[in-house]
């Protein structure tokens, strides 16, 4: 899960990483809180997306009155589909230099990677490798002092500032490990004119699989659609896309391959649902009903039952249909454990089961065309 900026900064402060002085304004009645901050302020909309600056999510003000007026405007604004529920008001830093510091998981090297750069800001990704300071940290060994010395010496800073950077790096690494982060990033890390290093922005992603030992992070899934959220609460992986064909498959790889097959035959998956390893008929019925809520024009079901029993999946589908008033054209393919019994159940329920993945994709696309495409 990605923490929103003000949350990430709270965690940064807990570990002693300097952040700008600021307050979070959540409603118009809280506008007076702005007065606690310097007259020159930055106003940052708290939305869970990048690139908010270009979309009007970051503004400046040079007086308290101006700040209040601007925050008022920003609250409730829609930025790339997200309603602004709160605005972070921070002292405007007197910037001398913008730097970059990040730590993330390196999947290929199977360890942690610290990335540093003497330039910060949005252009960081286009810096050539020669300008990046990359250091691998072994998970069992942890961050060594020689690595810290080596990294900070590559920044164009004086001795005192290098010491401050070393301190921030150690704290950021500790935070990254203790909080089970998959990303801890400061961009920009600002060197102020009076020589302080301050984390002007904070990005923190916490490993979802570690949340059992980090109960303090409330799950915020605000970038999900209401239907996706509903599915998630039921423990079903459902994602909404643009197309009109609804897809049910089991396993992430098979689901992706099914969507790919649809496109090869000229169709497009609209909403898709991964049944995972379930063959509990009641869960299947529940999943099928959820898919119906997305209003697909055609439904494609592709199950390869290895451990999953095909016949109980088929039962779930049949039961779901008996609950429905209107029946959406459905192409189905089911293979694997207890396949013959499954096909019987499906035929009795009025389906014509397909044999291969290609065939079921083609059938679904033809069904959609017949509907008047």
């Amino acid at each position: 899960m990605d923490l929103i900026e003000y949350k990430a900064k709270e965690v940064f402060r807990k570990y002693g990483i300097p952040t700008p002085k600021g307050v979070l304004v959540k409603s118009h009645s809280e506008l007076t809180r702005v007065e606690d901050i310097a007259p020159k302020v930055v106003l940052k909309a708290q939305v869970p997306i990048g690139g908010r600056g270009k979309a009007g999510g970051i503004k400046f003000a040079s007086s308290t009155d101006e700040a209040k007026a601007r925050v008022s405007e920003m609250l409730g604004m829609i930025i790339r589909g997200f309603k602004v529920g709160s605005v972070l008001v921070e002292e405007a830093l007197d910037i001398s230099k913008e730097l970059y510091l990040g730590i993330t998981i390196d999947r290929s090297a199977k360890d942690h990677l610290i990335i540093g750069a003497a330039e910060g800001g949005v252009e960081i990704e286009s810096l050539p490798d020669g300008k990046l300071i990359k250091t691998h940290v072994r998970a069992l060994a942890g961050l060594q002092s020689y690595q810290v010395r080596d990294i900070v010496s590559k920044y164009p800073l004086n001795a005192e500032q290098q010491k401050a950077l070393a301190d921030i790096l150690r704290k950021l690494f500790t935070l990254y490990v203790k909080e089970d982060a998959t990303l801890a990033e400061i961009n920009p890390l600002v060197l102020t004119k009076d020589g302080r290093l301050v984390a002007a922005d904070a990005k923190l992603s916490i490993d979802d699989d570690s949340l059992y030992r980090h109960k303090e992070y409330e799950r915020v899934e605000s970038d999900l659609t209401p239907l996706e959220m509903k599915a998630k609460q039921k423990g079903i992986a459902l994602i909404q896309l643009d197309g009109r064909i609804g897809v049910i498959a089991n396993g992430a790889g098979l689901t992706m391959a099914t969507l790919d097959s649809l496109e090869i035959y000229g169709g497009k998956g609209g909403v898709f649902l991964d049944l995972g390893g379930t063959d509990d008929p009641e869960r299947v019925t529940e999943a099928f009903m959820l898919l119906q809520e997305a209003n697909p024009s055609v439904i494609l079901i592709n199950i390869f039952g290895g451990i999953t029993k095909c016949d109980t999946v088929a039962e779930g589908i049949r039961n779901a249909l008996s609950n429905l008033k209107k029946r959406v054209p459905t192409a189905v393919r089911i293979r694997g454990l207890n396949e013959e019994r499954a096909k019987e159940i499906l035929r009795d329920a009025g389906f014509v089961p397909c044999d291969t993945m290609a065939e079921v994709a083609r059938t679904a696309v033809e069904m959609e065309r017949k509907l008047g495409g």
Partner: protein, 287 residues
């Protein structure tokens, strides 16, 4: 011949008394796997499907000398279980458990590497050598003894691919699931190297998916291989996933998409299928 598991494999099941442990111990035994012991702390002295249960790996080792571990214990305890196996000299460890924190896996993979142990997974369906041994949860029925090596990052999609190979009239030497997590023990390159040396493997099929750069690294290795490779990459039409900040973009540098992977594999001389069902026909062509 085959890779990693064969008739000499003696399996220790970690978490054998759990629901999954019991079910798959039975399935592995039915397949012909030599399951010699199980372990669950506090459950020593019991038997599961005729397999003796011990309280610790050390006890299991003393009594039954297993050489391969399969881990079914829940995610919060998986790291501990793997360390216990490594410390007791087990050199092949298959981690079925899913949702293990990535920091735990980084430490676990590194510890195994220091100690010369091989890790498969986590979040893998395991490994199967038809006619010899299955250390995993893959459906037994789909496999046929033969000479095609299969390496996959996926679960059910692997079964689909194996099915396609079998339908085209070929069997499998060994089928290996790498696991779908960000950090896994074995990678495509490790497995490709083993298959390239295996006398019983004539061609290799790899099943990749979007995310990470493991397929691009596999492509580099394929250039040096003696045997033909066929590939399928899932997620060609998937919407772009969430960005891992600037750091993520710096690491991948435009790699990680299905397009990038297919391009790299094709340039390395691999035959890439558009649909999973085409794999069987591709194998026929390259042999």
């Amino acid at each position: 011949m085959s890779i990693i598991v064969d008739k000499g494999t003696k399996v220790l099941v970690h978490g054998i008394t759990g629901h999954q442990g019991v079910f798959h111990t039975r399935a592995m035994k039915e397949f012909g796997t030599n399951v010699v012991a199980g372990m669950t702390p506090g459950k020593g002295g019991q038997e599961v499907e005729g397999v003796p249960v011990f309280n610790s790996v050390a006890e299991a080792m003393a009594a039954r000398s297993p050489n391969t571990s399969i881990i079914f214990v829940p995610a919060p305890f998986a790291k501990d279980s793997v360390f216990e196996a490594v410390d007791n000299g087990i050199k092949t460890i298959v981690i079925i458990t899913e949702r293990i924190p990535v920091h735990d896996m980084a430490a676990t993979v590194e510890y195994a590497r220091y100690n010369g142990a091989k890790i498969i997974g986590p979040n893998t369906p395991g490994i199967v050598t038809p006619g010899e041994a299955k250390v995993g949860i893959m459906p037994s029925k789909i496999f046929v003894d033969g000479h095609i090596g299969v390496i996959s990052r996926s679960g059910t999609l692997t079964y689909e691919i194996v099915d396609s190979i079998t339908r085209a009239g070929y069997g499998q030497s060994t089928c290996l699931g790498l696991g779908g997590d960000p950090i896994t023990g074995m990678s495509f390159v490790d497995a490709l190297a083993l298959f390239d040396k295996d006398k019983d493997t004539d061609a290799v099929v790899i099943v990749g998916e979007i995310g990470g750069t493991a397929e691009e690294e596999a492509a580099e290795f394929i250039k040096t291989m003696h045997k033909p490779v066929c590939a399928y990459i899932a997620g060609q039409t998937a919407p772009p996933g969430k960005r891992m900040g600037h750091a993520g973009a710096i690491i991948t540098r435009g790699k990680g998409t299905a397009e990038s992977k297919i391009k790299a594999l094709t340039a390395a001389g691999a035959s890439v299928a558009r649909l999973p069902a085409e794999i069987g026909e591709l194998v026929k062509k390259v042999l």
